[in-house]
Symmetry: C2
Subunit: 191 residues, 2 copies
């Protein structure tokens, strides 16, 4: 018996990576198992079903995001720096083998993923939106951002843009992605 340390975490890492790379219908237990050098059944031992595994990936991501935004390092940033921090989450994904955000990946195949997973995706999307909304609201009140309309709507626009731009970059390249980020900031920062 070859022991892999922290199997559960390693499986989650690989599953997250595959979800962002190929989507729910594009990856299999065989992919994970072969990459890990174990048999399919070993994955089923830790996560009985594909739904269980995918849900665990999203839940871990939700926990991680919650930790980040409650961390004093992020809380202490200026309004503009908070926004930049959020954007780096997406630029980092793009830099990491052209990954796409989990939410976008799973919403694109929303109608062919299990119900429990749909619920997790919905919850994550709401949490991302909520943070961005309040960050935009506070930033505008403080004079750091300039935009018309409701912070909730502007947050939905910006999050949709980031999600779409990561996908666009797969066909049209990273330069296009960077241009989008720059344009979003231009729209938001100058008066």
């Amino acid at each position: 018996m070859v022991k892999i340390e922290n199997s559960k975490r390693t499986i989650l890492n690989l599953a997250e990576s595959l979800l962002q790379d190929k989507g729910f219908n594009g990856f299999s237990y065989a992919h994970i198992a072969s990459e890990l050098g174990v048999k399919n059944a070993a994955i089923h031992y830790h996560f009985p079903t594909k739904e269980d595994l995918s849900i665990a990936v999203i839940q871990r991501y939700r926990d991680r995001f919650k930790l980040w935004i409650n961390n004093s390092r992020v809380k202490g940033l200026s309004h503009e720096a908070k926004l930049d921090w959020f954007f780096t989450i997406y630029t980092d994904m793009r830099a990491d083998k052209g990954k796409v955000c989990l939410v976008g990946s799973m919403e694109a195949e929303f109608n062919s993923i299990p119900e429990g997973l749909q619920g997790e995706v919905q919850a994550l999307h709401k949490e991302l939106l909520a943070w961005l909304q309040s960050t935009l609201a506070e930033g505008r009140d403080a004079g750091a951002f300039s935009f018309k309309g409701e912070p909730a709507d502007k947050a939905a626009v910006i999050l949709s843009t980031l999600q779409g731009a990561l996908q666009m970059a797969r066909a049209l390249g990273t330069k296009k992605f960077r241009d989008v980020i720059a344009q979003v900031k231009l729209d938001l920062l100058s008066p």
Copy 2:
């Protein structure tokens, strides 16, 4: 032999619908065949491989879009009405069983679709961007739109937003989608 009139077109319609609903990895020849009341092999007769079929769907969509934008009905519209026409393409998709745009669907699973299909998706995305870019440029020159930066970048932002918003709507509902459209227009139309 039960004859289906215009089989080829009917198959393309169904395949397009399935691609927008479940994505490339989420649909099979069996889905199409059963919906059509024929056997799998009948689909293979018209489109030998899944790649052939998917490419044909995108090519037809590209032709359709080219026809639309060269049609005098669209060419004769005001700048604002042109933008509204473009937005209705997406609101219609949302209204039609929560479909997602072809480009977004296939870019989300870009790394697990055939190469030839990737090329078609890329070509379609470029064509959509090109039209939107020139529409934005002309509209701003004429004083109908107001935005900072390059039309090419603003077009990439708006297209990414629409693409992301259709996906977002699957988890968060149609109201959120309409809010995004309204916000994009607010950002673009008022001075």
